[in-house]
């Protein structure tokens, strides 16, 4: 039985650094606009799903009047929440615009909304990292 062997083509240094720069642009783009990183790599299905997922989570989270953390947090949990919320990239400001009445975490709905917003951010960071890795040729 013949064994399959994979031959790794040598990649030149300038080509390598160019690919790394492109991967960074893809990762940053994917963070700023959910799905843009995958769209740049022509992974259209994943791009649409990322955009819709973050969009729906932000819309529902803001609609439930979840807490959208700011940089002026009081403790470590507020700071972590801010980092998670910032993960949505441009959608952070969309969520801010949608929450015209401000957050209301005195009810369970608002608490759930906070989780929806944080999940949107963490998911978008994961998707941007996935696009970055795919651009580097590590996984798809």
């Amino acid at each position: 039985m013949a064994e399959e062997t994979t031959v790794q083509e040598p990649v030149s240094q300038p080509q390598n650094s160019r690919r790394e720069a492109l991967a960074l642009v893809v990762g940053l783009g994917g963070w700023l606009v959910p799905g843009l990183g995958h769209a740049l790599l022509k992974m259209w299905g994943r791009a649409v799903i990322c955009f819709l997922t973050v969009g729906v989570l932000v819309w529902v989270g803001a609609g439930m009047r979840g807490n959208l953390f700011t940089s002026r947090g009081n403790d470590a949990f507020d700071s972590l929440g801010y980092i998670a919320d910032l993960g949505t990239g441009g959608f952070y400001w969309v969520a801010r615009s949608l929450e015209t009445n401000g957050p209301d975490v005195s009810r369970a709905d608002g608490d759930y909304g906070t989780r929806f917003l944080a999940t949107a951010g963490v998911f978008n960071l994961l998707a941007a990292l996935h696009a970055y890795e795919a651009a580097r040729g590590r996984k798809a």
Binding site: R46, G63, M64, S97, L98, T100, Y112
Partner: protein, 77 residues
């Protein structure tokens, strides 16, 4: 530029008007569905594998969510 900015603001205001009123179970189901589909698309390439992964993740999300809910029931009062 000003007209496009005002158009964006008007669209956002319109979206904000659509109030989201969900029961706890509805919120759980929407969350589980959205995240399962997203994980399925990110984690798997083949359509058949994606569907299997999405259904399995959705089932686990719902089972664990409802299970933890019932586990907390005796301590709710």
């Amino acid at each position: 530029m000003t007209s496009s900015t005002s158009a964006v603001s008007a669209t956002l205001a319109l979206i904000a008007l659509i109030a989201v009123k969900l029961s706890h179970l509805q919120a759980l189901v929407i969350f589980a569905l959205v995240i399962s589909v997203a994980f399925g698309f990110l984690g798997r390439r083949q359509p058949k594998e994606r569907v299997k992964y999405i259904l399995w993740t959705l089932l686990l999300f719902l089972l664990v969510g409802v299970g933890i809910g019932w586990a907390m029931y005796p301590f709710s009062r």
